[in-house]
Symmetry: C2
């Protein structure tokens, strides 16, 4: 990614990966330098980089760093290919399973499969690094195409309610739902943004508010429980959500709270727009949302607002919004509208 | 209130008022002794006692303390009556306006209006103190009548979702919505309770979880945004909410988040029950919910989950749930059912 690239949470710089430490936001803006694949794996485990796409790109760069580390000892192209295969397996194990990660790792593994007759270890490592950078650049370009497609749905002066963080910080840069707002702004359609704080991890209050404020947006943070009343009082003109997965029927798995917001939007006849890269659409997907671990919840419920020690904590990992509540799904291919089964196939 | 009285946040003990400091819960259980009306006013201002009914009882005790302070100097019954009137005005100014406070203060003021021919200052002070204790005891008895009426709606083994704190801590003891659960338990109908953490002030996570756990309930705390998905997946058999005010049409003003939860309950055909003392029902009431002050919000958004400095925070003071989404309203007079205009008048 070039210097003029839009802001994102990963920078590849002279053979090292700089990661914006998202655990310290919004209080501290600190870039963490990863010189080895192990550094990257640790940063992923500690959630210093988060968001399925950003994690996938980090994993691809991790493989490139592993190749670079081994280039002196590996000698031949074939040995380097083996080293790359090992690194791919290592990053896969170090990373939460997602189709984004599988695809990104498949790409860097394939890049290493050059002809072992004509190439040496350096050439293989170069090819892997180039492919990791391409995975990153392609994601930014894809988000920008998605943003341009979605921008037409944003009226100038709209008040847009959003949840969680599906922004530059969750991707290579630009973002999906927040990318739509950025693209709209670039075409002079400025939205006021209301963001739910998005418990338990407060990705809305900490990350979305930070990255939108950084770009000059008018942002207001509300508690999650306030969203429905704002919709009821018609103080929101559009709900714009990101997605982790989309079924063939337009059912959307995404940030916790999305279902309640979509219900309130439907009751108020406010349109719900979902932004997701096309690879998130999977006709065969499960709608399982998993769960946030009790340890993560306990840590999120810090003093002075602690929960009594003996009380159980529980949190699903996300929400499922039925396709019937969604007005449009935007991907890099364009704006999809119901009926979903036909629309999402195109 | 006698020793065998149920647990509550206020104890009158040898001419002093002990208040459970709710700002320290759940981490620390500390009773604060108020020897003067000024102590009580300060505790109210600092939200150490909260909940409209608990605050009203504290204000009545504040007047009793003021009368006791002046009993030596006041001399005559008439001078003491003047002192009581002054103290009532002072407590009224020190207390957020609510019908509960107006009624409680009117009661202690009326108690001072004994015959000045036959009474002395001590007798007036005694009458005021007795009335303050009666205001307290009557509230507990009212909550227990409400609880008994509502208990019939709780099936043994039910999973009940609740919001905020309308419990013992918000009243003289027992509570309204949580009083229903206590009364049900006493008649051997035990509910599992899921409580929304209830941002911004976390009254659910901090207070409701604490007081229910103290009484042996099976309690689970969830983030506010998780409630709708639990209802969608039919993991909740009943929604039980408290109320600040109820209109003649059954519209309910209560804790933030109640509207979204009621919408999700309606979509899942899960009944919504509201508990409120009959004095909360006001055919002429406004549905204005006010707002939480930005300073309170900023304080509630503590590090490490801070919101960026330049980002606006906003929070309505509560939610309005349309009567059409509510299945039953329980008061100390019994269980009311739609149609509301006729039902709530009886």
């Amino acid at each position: 990614v070039e210097d003029e690239a839009p802001f994102g949470p990963l920078i590849w710089k002279r053979g090292a990966l700089l990661l914006l430490d998202q655990t310290l936001l919004p209080g501290e803006v600190k870039w963490r330098s990863c010189a080895t694949a192990e550094d990257v794996a640790q940063a992923i485990a500690e959630r210093r980089v988060r968001g399925a796409t950003a994690v996938a790109i980090a994993a691809a760069y991790g493989v490139a760093l592993a190749a670079r580390q081994r280039v002196g000892e590996a000698g031949s192209a074939r040995l380097m290919q083996n080293a790359v295969e090992e690194a791919v397996e290592k990053m896969r194990r170090a990373t939460p399973a997602s189709s984004h990660v599988f695809m990104a790792l498949a790409q860097v593994r394939d890049a290493a499969r050059v002809s072992v007759e004509t190439a040496d270890a350096f050439m293989v490592a170069d090819a892997v690094e180039a492919r990791a950078r391409a995975v990153h650049a392609e994601d930014v370009a894809r988000c920008q195409r998605l943003g341009s497609a979605g921008a037409e749905l944003i009226a100038d002066g709209a008040t847009v309610l959003t949840l969680g963080n599906y922004g530059a910080l969750a991707t290579g840069g630009w973002g999906t739902s927040l990318g739509v707002l950025r693209s709209a702004w670039r075409s002079c359609r400025r939205a006021r943004v209301i963001v739910c704080e998005s418990r338990p991890l407060l990705d809305g209050a900490r990350l979305t508010a930070w990255e939108l404020e950084r770009d000059g947006f008018d942002v207001t943070v509300i508690p999650d429980g306030a969203a429905h009343g704002l919709l009821q009082r018609r103080e929101v003109s559009m709900v714009l959500l990101g997605a982790d997965r989309v079924s063939g029927d337009g059912d959307v798995v995404g940030e916790l709270g999305g279902y309640g917001v979509a219900l309130a939007a439907a009751a108020a006849a406010v349109p719900v727009v979902v932004a997701a890269i096309a690879a998130c659409i999977d006709p065969a997907m499960s709608l399982d949302v998993g769960a946030v671990s009790p340890a993560v919840l306990r840590a999120a419920a810090t003093p002075p607002f602690g929960v009594p020690e003996r009380v159980a904590l529980r949190c699903p990992g996300g929400d499922v919004i039925p396709g019937a509540l969604i007005g449009a799904i935007v991907t890099e291919r364009g704006v999809h509208r119901p009926p979903w089964p036909t629309s999402l196939r195109s």
